[in-house]
């Protein structure tokens, strides 16, 4: 870092030139209300000379006599140029920048003024991004952009966030948008420090994404990092620190209720010794009434986490040179034991005018992220049995002799201490990304600019995953000799991308006869190549005493099961594109784009995809007939667009069936084998294409105090790249172009600067988006998704069908419980209850049926409830999502609150199923949903099972739920819950120290604030948090709440300083 600073300093000093003849000029800068503005940057146009105003708004500057104009820059105010010819003292009033119409929006390979937009593009600016005290930019913009649904899938540090722009059209493929950071496509933006971000722009319709042709179909998220704007030196420092705590917890049974239930369970199972073996005699059950319970949730997730976040930004330069250098550091201690997160970011941006017509841009970005802890689940799991949350929930809360003090778990119990589960599933991920970008701009002739960019993006991810003795993995996967001994897997991923982009921009303005016409054109070519290799080293049979730390550093103590250095097929993309913008008097705007993409993922003949688009806008407010409305209507624009964008989001190398070599521990006498991939090659693959129609309206009222945007869209995705099931042919899947999906929706956003007085400001903003997804055709096929949280007990639980949306949950329909009246008699000889002939028997699903057993609807009416009686019981797609915020300033205090919501989506609460039914297991605890008084009971006070109908009825007069005793886990609509929520994401109270005081401390600004994150959540959802999705290995199973890392609340205190 020092080096970089030195170099920068050197460069800067080198560029200072000799000073010519000068004159002294003084001035004073104020706002409209007459308040002195402090720290306004004043520069002499065409030179690097500048000064800034003092606490009285005064400045003093030496100006070459040849200079005529001063440029004044101040954040929040419009830039102003002042003519100083013949003056030595000037008084300047700066206008506040209330209008957003002149804001520049980043679009592909260029920028455009917001007022000239013809497509659907939304922007979030730096102040919104940094308002949330989180370490991830994506998390910070949750609920801020209409049509962009962002979900934090769980509460772990570095948790994956799913981002969907307008729903997403693919069924099995990725629906992730394309991320472009400073022009470079990257896989994720989670490694970018929020404070480094200048703006995030989201391109939503094809007319804006088509310039990215390929991969633009799921929307494009463009991140622009900060650079110095004015060239004046400025140093900013921000920092916040705070504490985190578990946001929500679920109660479990009291020790006595737990013992009581275990007794009933053992009796129902006909094996009372399963109880007495561990819990003693029933007569002594009172001893559990006063036992102190371990609160495992508290022990595992209850610690007070902490967060520390700082950012230092230095920017400056001169007229010719601008640079910005920033460093960010985040350190988090998460609420779960042994888990934490640390990130360092370095961002350097530099541009310099080499010659009059030649400028150089350079950017370097580096991030270094360390994530500790295995979390509560994983996507590439060996078995869902190793998911961690259940240990904290249903492990006995009291010591149970033989279970909790035994190193060998009973297979019918199959739980380990929550602490053992954590240490046995430990993990450390060290990720480094580095991005280097250089560009040359050459103004060949006036209005013709050539730009060439060369970039390199490196990604290195080192994951060390430890499997301790209690894990399913070591009990089953290693060769027999190493079973039961710790294992560690090192996965080192290396990915490198190289990019070259050449663009030519021409402004035809000069060639056109009239100033009313404006015509600009862009031509470009791009080449991107990505190489990836993964080295996986699997070590089994480590000494049984080894911990994660030992295993990482002493892997030679084990046996290398396999060392697999696997290189993926390169992903190469070659593209040509162009864009034409035309407008007449700013009233009639036309944009046309075209892109041709060649992808190495497809074979000759299908390789090239062509993505045209056109859009138009009409600014009604500028028409003569709208003249009368000028008093209140600042701007009114109608936009329409039509275009195509593509998607090639499949793994490389699908064209040829090549032999792969894999390791095996299943075959005697072999440790590796040759076989083709389980995915059948398909040489006929081609681009998936999304056609977007968008109709938009931008309106700005009352001197731009109220701005609103409406968008209506229809996205049709054709030739879907589907991972098509072909099992039975010899392969499991084959990628095919098949079917069609449709997303239709409405988006609305508005912001209203309700009040803007000297000492009181109040502003609101809100957005809402409705999206409806429909699978138009699937070639007559139903696609089934299996979340697999219960291994094979539940079977497939998602169903995609033609005519319906994706993300629909499939299972049984609950019919409450079998009541005594459902039975004709009890056969004491055979010890079983006889069902009435008109009552459907669900025993093949729930186990032996008796009064109190869970009852399911017999949908096909054949008298037996079995797998054919399942139906669609939930839809995980929200009806609408959105957010709103309130910002206010009262004197030097500022208050802000950001809310976001999701409405009408279902959550598949798999946790609840696991925590309220026995399945085949014994001795497990349950959540209090199934407490005595809630659950059906069969147990008489004397410790015997009642088979007397009348007695059972009276014993259960006040209970509402069925008996948790079941032979396996059952997914019914009872476990499908409304996941609607309203969350108070961030609330902040800040105080800006008066400038007079700050300047005494040699600061331009000083603000301190206190902020809370996730303080309030309104929902009817019974689980930890409805914003959850843990079974993400396929896109088919969204919205499953199984073993999610619980979310936390956060209270922070922070400070922003600039010099």
């Amino acid at each position: 870092m020092k080096k970089v600073l030195l170099v920068v300093t050197f460069l800067c000093s080198f560029l200072f030139a000799a000073i010519a003849q000068t004159k002294q000029i003084t001035g004073n800068v104020r706002d409209k209300s007459g308040e002195a503005l402090i720290g306004v940057s004043v520069t002499v146009k065409g030179t690097k000379q500048g000064a800034s105003t003092d606490i009285n708004g005064n400045f003093k500057l030496s100006v070459p006599t040849s200079s005529q104009v001063l440029v004044l820059n101040y954040v929040g105010f419009k830039t102003k140029e002042v003519n100083i010819a013949g003056q030595t003292n000037v008084k300047v009033t700066l206008d506040e920048d209330v209008t957003s119409l002149d804001e520049v929006v980043v679009i592909g390979y260029g920028t455009v003024k917001k007022k000239d937009l013809t497509g659907a593009v939304a922007q979030v600016s730096a102040d919104v991004i940094t308002a949330a005290p989180v370490s991830s930019a994506v998390e910070a913009i949750t609920g801020r952009i209409p049509g962009v649904q962002i979900s934090t899938t769980e509460g772990s540090p570095d948790a994956e966030m799913t981002v969907r722009v307008r729903g997403g059209g693919s069924i099995t493929g990725s629906n992730a948008p394309l991320y472009i950071v400073d022009g470079f496509p990257v896989n994720s933006i989670s490694d970018i420090a929020p404070s480094d971000i200048e703006s995030i722009d989201v391109l939503k319709d094809a007319s804006s994404t088509a310039i990215y042709g390929s991969r633009g179909a799921n929307g494009v998220i463009m991140v622009t990092t900060k650079n110095s704007k004015s060239g004046t030196t400025s140093i900013g420092f921000t920092s916040f620190t705070g504490i985190k705590e578990l946001a929500n917890r679920l109660d479990v049974l009291t020790p006595q209720d737990y013992a009581y239930w275990q007794y009933e369970r053992a009796l129902l199972d006909g094996e009372v010794k399963d109880y007495t073996k561990y819990f003693g005699n029933f007569q002594d059950i009172d001893m559990y009434s006063n036992v102190r319970a371990n609160d495992w949730q508290d022990i595992v997730f209850g610690r007070t986490g902490s967060t520390y976040n700082q950012n230092l930004n230095i920017s400056g330069g001169s007229e010719k040179t601008k640079f910005s250098l920033s460093h960010s550091f985040v350190k988090e201690k998460a609420i779960m034991l042994y888990s934490g997160f640390e990130r360092q970011n370095l961002n350097f941006k530099f541009n310099h005018k080499l010659y009059n017509k030649l400028t150089l841009d350079f950017g370097a970005r580096y991030s270094n992220t360390k994530t500790e802890g295995g979390g509560a689940n994983e996507q590439r799991e060996i078995s869902s049995a190793d998911s961690r949350l259940k240990f904290a929930m249903i492990y006995p809360s009291i010591p149970v002799n033989g279970l909790t003090n035994s190193t060998e778990t009973d297979p019918d119990f199959s739980l380990f201490s929550p602490l053992v589960a954590l240490t046995d599933n430990d993990q450390y991920i060290h990720r480094k990304t580095y991005n280097l970008n250089g560009a040359l701009n050459w103004d060949i002739i006036k209005d013709l600019r050539f730009r060439t960019e060369i970039g390199y993006d490196g990604y290195r991810n080192d994951q060390d995953r430890f499997y301790g003795q209690s894990t399913y993995y070591v009990q089953n996967v290693p060769a027999a000799a190493n079973q039961g001994d710790p294992a560690i897997i090192f996965t080192n991923t290396n990915r490198n991308s190289f990019r070259n982009t050449n663009t030519l921009n021409y402004d035809f303005g000069k060639l056109l006869a009239s100033k009313d016409h404006s015509l600009t054109a862009l031509l470009g070519q791009e080449y991107i190549k990505t190489e990836e290799g993964i080295l996986t080293t699997t070590v089994h049979g480590l000494p049984s005493t080894f911990t994660f730390t030992n295993a990482r550093s002493l892997s030679t103590q084990g046996q290398a099961n396999s060392i697999d250095n696997n290189f993926s097929v390169d992903d190469i993309l070659l593209s040509y594109f162009g864009r034409v913008n035309y407008n007449f008097k700013g009233k009639y705007l036309l944009t046309g784009t075209f892109r041709a993409d060649g992808s190495s993922k497809f074979k000759d003949g299908n390789r090239w995809g062509y993505f045209p688009s056109a859009s138009a806008a009409w600014r009604l407010s500028d028409e003569a007939f709208m003249e009368d409305a000028k008093t209140w209507l600042s701007d009114l624009k109608i936009r329409a667009s039509y275009g195509k964008a593509g998607n090639n989001g499949i793994p490389s190398g699908q064209m040829v069936q090549s032999f792969l070599n894999s390791t095996t521990t299943w075959v005697n006498g072999a440790n590796n084998f040759w076989a083709p991939s389980k995915t059948m090659a398909n040489p006929d693959l081609k681009w998936e294409t999304t056609t977007t129609k968008n109709l938009g309206l931008d309106i700005s009222l009352f001197k731009t105090r109220l701005n609103a945007t409406f968008d209506f869209y229809t996205n049709n995705t054709n030739d879907l790249l589907i991972e098509y099931p072909v099992s039975g042919t010899g392969y499991d899947f084959q990628y095919r172009n098949l079917g069609e999906t449709k997303n239709r929706g409405i988006e609305f956003s508005a912001n209203w600067n309700a009040l803007k007085k000297k000492n009181f400001e109040l502003a609101f903003s809100a957005n809402i988006a409705f999206n409806k997804n429909e699978v138009v055709s699937l070639g007559g096929l139903d696609v089934r998704g299996t979340s697999g949280w219960a291994s094979s007990e539940v079977g497939y639980d998602y169903l995609v069908q033609e005519g319906a949306s994706i993300g629909r949950i499939y299972g049984y329909v609950s019919d409450g419980r079998y009541e005594v009246a459902d039975f004709s008699s009890y056969d004491a000889g055979k010890a079983r209850w006889i069902l009435n002939s008109d009552v459907a028997n669900a025993s093949t699903v729930v186990g032996t049926v008796r009064p109190g057993t869970m009852k399911l609807k017999d949908l096909n009416g054949d008298g037996i409830v079995d797998a054919t009686d399942r139906a669609v019981i939930g839809n995980t797609n929200p009806k609408h999502t959105g957010g709103f915020s309130v910002n206010s300033k009262i004197y030097n205090f500022d208050v802000a609150a950001y809310f976001n919501w999701s409405f009408g989506n279902d959550i598949y609460n798999a946790n609840k199923i696991e925590y309220t039914s026995t399945s085949k297991y014994s001795s497990r605890n349950m959540i209090s949903t199934m407490a005595t008084g809630q659950r059906w009971t069969n147990l008489r006070p004397d410790g015997t099972i009642s088979n007397d109908g009348a007695e059972l009825t009276s014993m259960n007069a006040n209970t509402t739920l069925w008996s948790p005793y079941m032979s396996r886990y059952v997914l019914s609509d009872w476990a499908v819950e409304d996941g609607s929520f309203l969350r108070l994401g961030t609330v902040t109270l800040g105080y800006t120290v008066p400038v007079s005081l700050a300047s005494k401390l040699k600061m331009k600004t000083l603000r301190v604030y206190a902020s809370g994150y996730n303080l309030l959540l309104l929902t009817n959802y019974s689980g930890f948090d409805p914003e959850v999705s843990t079974r993400r290995r396929t896109n088919l199973t969204p919205g499953v709440d199984y073993s999610a890392y619980p979310k936390s609340k956060m209270y922070v205190f922070g400070l922003n300083v600039s010099f």
């Binding site: 009990q475 079973q483 290189f567 992903d571 095996t664 072999a670 076989a675 010899g730 797998a867």
Partner: protein, 592 residues
């Protein structure tokens, strides 16, 4: 303006350079070309493991086919059969549903068998194209082994599902979807393949590889060819739904018996295999010695941590103990009548049928309806199983006794009982090591006529192979499936109610744990035992010896089959494969 032209030229130049045709070609890395793999023996061997890998997949042989194929018959049944509507029961009681939740998954045996076939097809193509198998014995052996493995899979596909799609070439877009093929087409191909394989493969111990029963040898290829010939020449339910013989003259009974006879005699005359003592056969299996040249001819080479043989078919341990870290066994059990089919001096009974299970490391009598296949025992293993899901014992796919009995059967059909007698006698003699006189008298009876000899073979194969899941296919090819199941039904009912030949059996068994604190001694299992004597012997415990329990939903005998077995000789192709077959597959042969 000239500048613009220059720029355009430069740009155009760049464009031309970067749009060279191969700029978008990205070859596969981390792979080798077929020509390298299949011309290098050390690499080509890896394609054998690739096929076995498919056997070991969760719901392939490992978790589904080995446990669910072959029940219910007069010798082997599903343990939970009395709950007749459970998914497992429905796989066994001739009432299988196309959406059976045990099987109707895309990773089921059906899919994994075709995965194995595709891997074999690719390897066979590779070896024939690049392998120089005529001159390179090692590559020849690999080709022979893969041809045989493909035949193993097809044999089991036909056993399970009847007429199935025939794939003998790597898949192409034209052959992605294929309808059921008449099984005669497949049989003929397999008979030819195995004939070729036998020429490529060495006898057991004839090469380094064939010193292990985990590698295919000539004897197994020939034995499998004999087994397939008998199946091809026998009865079964055909595509038209009827049970009949093949009408293809190439698969006539005589031709098939001739193949079986010749192959079996080749094996016997080679002297490369031998009959071990009956118990020794299975002790050898459980001890995992893997030595070729004994009775075992080929075993599915599950590694120690993969495969479910004892897990599903072995003597149950209800708790973990010093013999096993896995409390499993007994998903399938012997048909209870089998305990009473053996002569009391037949040494095979106590090896094959075990009337106890292990609890807390001690043998505890189970029940008449829940005895176990003693051929698979944790306690006979040399190691303690630690995996919770797999025991890793090899599956004994074929043993020499099968060859000997196939020889006897084929020779009887072709040359009459006298010529066939020595082979049946070999098996009989081993079964009665201490009672040669019983063998002599039995043989005299059996050789009375061709029919009586055939009937003796039918009985002998039941006694010899109980628990080896060969019975169902045998009964089908003899067209005795319905008959023998009906007989078993009657016998079960008589046994439970102590009627007919079971009339004098005691109602209880009497038992005690011996001084070694684990072995149980039981009285009351033999004809001639009585309650009166049982009570007088001073045993510490006794229990009612019955196959019914309080929770029964059906009687044992009614649960054996719920539809006519001859109309449901095969499983349907599962719904998930029907759905993804592009309309080429259905189950009309089963009227489903």
């Amino acid at each position: 303006m000239r500048k613009i032209i220059n720029i355009c030229l430069v740009l155009a130049g760049l464009t031309v350079v970067s749009s060279c045709k191969d700029v978008l070609d990205a070859p596969t890395q981390s792979s080798l070309d077929e020509s390298v793999i299949f011309s290098t023996p050390a690499l080509a061997e890896g394609s054998i493991a690739g096929i076995i890998q498919s056997f070991g997949e969760t719901n392939s042989y490992r978790g589904r086919y080995l446990v669910f194929y072959g029940i219910n018959t007069d010798t082997e049944v599903y343990n939970g059969l009395k709950t007749t509507d459970s998914e497992q029961s429905r796989l066994s009681n001739y009432n299988t549903n196309v959406a059976n939740t045990q099987m109707n998954t895309d990773n089921n045996a059906w899919a994994k068998f075709y995965e194995g076939i595709e891997r074999a097809n690719l390897a066979i193509r590779g070896l024939r194209t690049y392998g120089n198998v005529q001159n390179n014995a090692q590559l020849g052996q690999i080709l022979g082994e893969i041809l045989t493995l493909r035949a193993v899979i097809y044999s089991d596909l036909i056993k399970g599902w009847g007429d199935v799609p025939a794939r003998f070439e790597p898949i192409t877009s034209e052959t992605t979807y294929l309808p059921r093929s008449d099984r005669d087409v497949i049989y003929k191909q397999l008979l030819a393949d195995l004939e070729e394989a036998a020429t490529l493969l060495p006898w057991p111990n004839g090469s380094a590889a064939t010193q292990s029963v985990e590698r295919v040898n000539k004897a197994f290829a020939k034995g499998l060819r004999a087994r397939l010939a008998l199946a091809a020449g026998g009865y079964s339910q055909r595509l038209d739904g009827t049970v009949r013989l093949s009408t293809d003259p190439e698969l006539s009974r005589d031709k098939m018996y001739t193949i079986a006879k010749n192959e079996c005699l080749d094996i016997i005359n080679s002297g490369t295999l031998k009959l071990q003592g009956f118990e020794e056969v299975f002790k050898t299996l459980n001890a995992e010695t893997g030595r070729a040249g004994l009775e075992s001819m080929w075993e599915i080479p599950f590694s120690e941590g993969r495969g479910r043989v004892i897990f599903d078919l072995g003597v149950r341990h209800t708790t973990t103990d010093k013999y096993t870290g896995q409390n499993r066994g007994g998903t399938n059990v012997p048909n209870p009548i089998m305990l009473y089919e053996y002569d009391k001096d037949d040494v095979r009974r106590d090896v094959s049928i075990v009337p106890y299970e292990w609890t807390g490391g001690v043998q505890v009598p189970s029940s008449l309806g829940r005895m176990y296949f003693g051929k698979y025992r944790y306690e006979w293993m040399k190691r303690v199983v630690t995996s919770t899901n797999d025991d890793g014992l090899n599956w004994l796919y074929m043993r020499y006794a099968d060859v000997v009995l196939m020889a006897a059967e084929a020779i009887n059909e072709l040359d009459g009982p006298a010529a066939a007698a020595p082979y049946l006698q070999m098996i009989r003699t081993r079964a009665f090591p201490k009672n040669p006189e019983k063998v002599t008298s039995y043989m005299a009876q059996a050789t009375a006529s061709k029919t009586s000899f055939f009937n003796a073979i039918v009985d002998e194969r039941a006694l010899e192979f109980t628990g080896e899941m060969l019975r169902k296919a045998d009964l089908i090819r003899w067209n005795l499936l319905g008959t023998k199941l009906a007989e078993a039904k009657t016998k079960l009912q008589q046994l439970e109610t102590r009627q007919g030949k079971y009339a004098n059996l005691p109602s209880k068994i009497y038992y005690k744990t011996l001084d070694d604190k684990e072995t149980v001694q039981i009285y009351g299992l033999n004809f001639g035992d009585t309650d009166a004597i049982g009570n007088s012997l001073g045993y510490t415990a006794n229990k009612t010896w019955t196959m019914s329990a309080s929770s029964d939903k059906a009687t044992y005998w009614d649960a054996l089959y719920t539809r006519d077995p001859n109309l449901q000789q095969f499983w349907p192709i599962w719904q998930v494969f029907i759905d993804s077959s592009n309309g080429t597959l259905d189950n009309s042969n089963l009227k489903l």
